[in-house]
Point group: C2
Chain length 100, copies 2
């Protein structure tokens, strides 16, 4: 079942764009692993927050992607600039008004 | 700029699936108005919550879609079964590891 992982990642003050760069860096392994959509964004009302929306073929595909070397490397690179403030939610996709 | 609107909508107990049906009902006006993605979902750990991820051409397109007759009708239909508990966030998309 299609799976969505949505979240906010707090960056240390002044480090938001650096975190955006890490998360947005081209990684073709993700699509090959079942990632259908991965959008990284910002909102000027939250200057130290990076927003992420991911949609995957399945929750299992998302979970196993976390052990990809490229993903582990990005996590290691990002860790020092994370504030530790995180939020978000996950869900199974059950429908869309854009398709029958 | 591509815009994401992500949220959770509380349904009255037992009304979640009815709310999912309203939000998932095919509506071709959305795509015509700039909606790129609209996913509706559930998470068994939150039995009275409907999750939504929307991605739009722009925040302006999203905003003006709210005055579409079809969208107003869905809001009117959904209102009686909403619990009033809502959350979520919005952001401007600035990148993706799935594209350069």
């Amino acid at each position: 079942m299609t799976f969505a992982n949505v979240g906010t990642l707090g960056a240390l003050p002044g480090k938001r764009d650096e975190l955006v760069a890490i998360l947005s860096r081209r990684n073709d392994e993700l699509k090959a692993s079942g990632c259908l959509l991965y959008e990284v964004g910002v909102n000027e009302s939250a200057p130290d927050t990076v927003f992420v929306v991911e949609i995957w073929d399945s929750a299992e595909d998302h979970q196993s992607s976390l052990s990809l070397e490229s993903v582990q490397a990005a996590i290691t690179e990002a860790r020092p600039i994370l504030s530790g403030v995180m939020d978000g939610f996950r869900f199974d996709v059950v429908g869309s008004p854009l398709r029958s």
